[in-house]
Symmetry: D2
Subunit: 287 residues, 4 copies
């Protein structure tokens, strides 16, 4: 059987594409992001607008852009106390490249570090969408307060921390108050943030625990329509400038390959001396 | 009981701080970044101002902030053509966490990928600071043009690409023109960018090669006073939102663990069948 | 000058060690690993014995060492089909360093890729330790077969794959047969591997699905007393040489920064052209 | 024009393969590594033989295999003093996955950490291949000693450390002596190691500096025919078991998310308090 040239060309166009995307189209001399030529975006939209456009496929309203800007600024830095920053600086000290060190910092976010935002968003979005025990979304302040109570009791009974509340360095994190004030100013205080505040009220009364930065941002970002799966990504966007700054500081101020841990800083636990030949004999005869 | 001075001094040797920073001070309930309480920064400064403050320790002028915003926006995305984006998406497909995938994308920047900005900044800053052959900074347009010529000839003679010029997907990258126009608008077009333009003029005439995004941003960021060692860090800050967006798209649109490379896509080179027992016998007798 | 006890105690608070370990003690000119001076280990123990010693704190019997060697060899390579290998090679192509590329490969192991060994070990160890529904460990072949049936039915009902069974490239993975034969030879075929085989028998009968390399190694490593939390670590130890080899091949055989994905390989989905000024006007008036 | 079915099928076979390899061929139910079916390798070759086969494409002699085994064992661990191990443990403490932590450890190798092996191999191989100043390979012990002198003087004049000599924790590293003894035993002490020893003799006499583990292994691996570009890869293969072991120890012995750096451990440098509104006013009026 013979096949026409045209259909061969169609076949050759790779029928099952391994790669496809709705984010950016690249053609010779044209780069179209979410429908906009990039030369139209440069100089015309703010960085938070770009973030919003990339993540959600649409431009935000002006006030949403301002709110996202405040959220991103709030993630900026926490000095050298976060493990991710320590990792980035230790790596910088070995002479690793800037991008390798940033990468190391970001991959240091584990379930105990920088995961609270996403988990808090997940909880808030689940309750607002499905209600407690999937009985439907809360429809009044009363039901919302009740949802808060169920959540708090659920975690307290399990002896677990509620993501978004409490901070190991601060009794009262100075950031959430300003964030919530800003959300009210920009019309981004909605039902998710309201729920987050009810949870804080209960926790404060019962255990003296305040909301932290992640609790506030979880409410606000959810009210702005961000999927909880965007949570860690948004935190990374906000935190990367600090990592760059710390890596630069380590490389320019400190001595290369300095000893972060000296021998006298280490406690050696149960490392008595053994003899390999004796141990191996015993091992193979006792078998 | 009292203790002698000497042993106290020994004790105090432990206190030589392993960690110090000028970026952010953390105290209970207070977080001070570059001198400003963070609750004063949230809602009051833009994200690019925050980036500038973190990296340089000072707030920028309003126009510098606008310029940095445009630069960061220009780094946004290049679809699925960059290796870093492919890496981030392949990792996303394996079920790796968001932060792990972003980290993988960032660590994919090697000397051939995303290194041009920093190298271009380095060249421009070296010439402007030291002149060609360290004979002192260029003091006129004529000397600057001559420096451009020396650079171009140096690279052409070696058969090497000049970082910041040419693009493997575009004859004429659509972004540098808009960036340079913006730099002029915001008073950020200075001697480094002038030099970058002279280089382009020569390259265009001699080889038909245009400036790319890195060449333009190298000039502009240098004119804004950024150290070339900040180059890759600034690129990462601008590119991270795209990585987050691609990882999210891969995870939400594509099937998990899909085959990016199928067996029929692979060419196996020289893998004829061998017999281990025969080969080992020969190996140990021929010895 | 003498100093009071109290202030000394305050000083001593700094001495609470941040770092301690039972793995290796470092003193000037002495390095003691698990009790053995390293110069006694070099030349006297095999690499798999070293792995066993590091992970479990004791030397293995001779046959355990041989078994672990076979397990590590079995992890060696799967060509360029695994996403981790693709990531390592794409990174190598950008000019990233060897260690960065190995690191990228390893961080590509997500829940769908290279996680099956650990999850399979977890299942087998849980059943052997606690029994189905925590009613106590199985005490006969009959109970063991019954446990296998409960596991298979549990996963089939949920429509989920059982970790350690089936392979996306092989109907019948060629490695598990040889591994189980080797385990019998070295006295490392115990109750966990027996359970793994019973599961295979059922799956084969019901769905035509065979055990894969992870299922066999999960049984064997569990019978050797390895904690399931060591699973991914052991796989990494076995796979790293292949990553090194692929990165070296990419760097020495292929052109740097080659296009793994060309523009014509990409399908652009819904990226119609939009006008930023029109869209923004509409956005802010419709608000 | 019409095209025959056969040539279409040939065309469809992807004429320009993006992926090719000489390491492992994967076919349904067959995995062929360097020509050998994997089921023939499992149980028949040692792990170091597998490493050699993967990296060099051939099986080693028995004595080369023993030598490589000793080299890999020698890389095993250096407690918690290396930055890479600290990074792996800090990441483990955040709850990051085993593979993410191993990856973090490996990406911490920078030019000051774990790079000496490769650089030392590079120097030795260059001298043996090209001679000093490319005047041809040294052909006598006398010329070799002279090469050693030129190298030592070159580094001393520049005030730089020679890679492979000296150790920040040991005056006399206990491992190289045993390695060189082993190399002599297994016929792997050749001209590269001889050169390495001559360098040590001079350094010891002139500066009291001994060879370290990297210097010894650089000589031995070069004499075994390994390309210097394999150096860091071989070190990683040998060190990964320790990283796995430290991550496991951190996760099983220590509290999650413990404070490696407490606020009182940090010295804050020049973070006096500033007022954002005042500063911004001044900034924009003074412009």
């Amino acid at each position: 059987m013979a096949i026409g040239r045209e259909s061969v060309e169609n076949l050759l166009k790779l029928t099952k594409p391994k790669w496809r995307t709705s984010i950016t189209k690249v053609e010779p001399n044209r780069i179209i992001t979410r429908g906009y030529p990039q030369e139209d975006l440069i100089g015309n939209i703010s960085f938070p607008e770009m973030v919003y456009l990339l993540l959600k496929g649409e431009l935000p309203h002006e006030e949403q852009a301002k709110m996202l800007e405040s959220v991103l600024v709030s993630f900026c830095d926490h000095g050298v106390t976060p493990p991710s920053t320590q990792v980035a600086r230790i790596m910088a000290s070995t002479g690793a490249n800037m991008n390798t060190c940033v990468s190391g910092g970001i991959s240091s976010f584990g379930k105990y570090h920088a995961g609270a935002l996403e988990r808090s968003m997940h909880i808030l979005q689940k309750i607002i969408k499905e209600g407690i025990n999937s009985e439907g979304p809360p429809t009044s302040s009363h039901e919302l307060k009740n949802s808060a109570l169920v959540i708090v009791e659920h975690f307290l009974k399990k002896g677990k921390k509620i993501p978004g509340y409490g901070h190991r360095f601060h009794d009262k994190d100075p950031r959430p108050g300003k964030l919530i004030e800003t959300a009210k100013k920009y019309g981004c205080f909605g039902i998710h943030t309201e729920l987050a505040v009810y949870i804080e009220n209960l926790l404060l009364e019962m255990k003296g625990i305040h909301m932290n930065i992640d609790g506030a941002n979880a409410g606000i970002l959810s009210d702005m329509g961000f999927d909880w799966k965007h949570g860690t990504g948004l935190f990374i966007i906000g935190r990367v400038p600090a990592l760059v700054s710390h890596i630069y500081e380590e490389k320019s101020v400190e001595s290369p390959f300095r000893k972060f841990v000296d021998v006298e800083d280490i406690y050696f636990d149960g490392l008595e001396c053994r003899n390999i030949h004796a141990d191996r004999n015993e091992l193979n005869t006792s078998k």
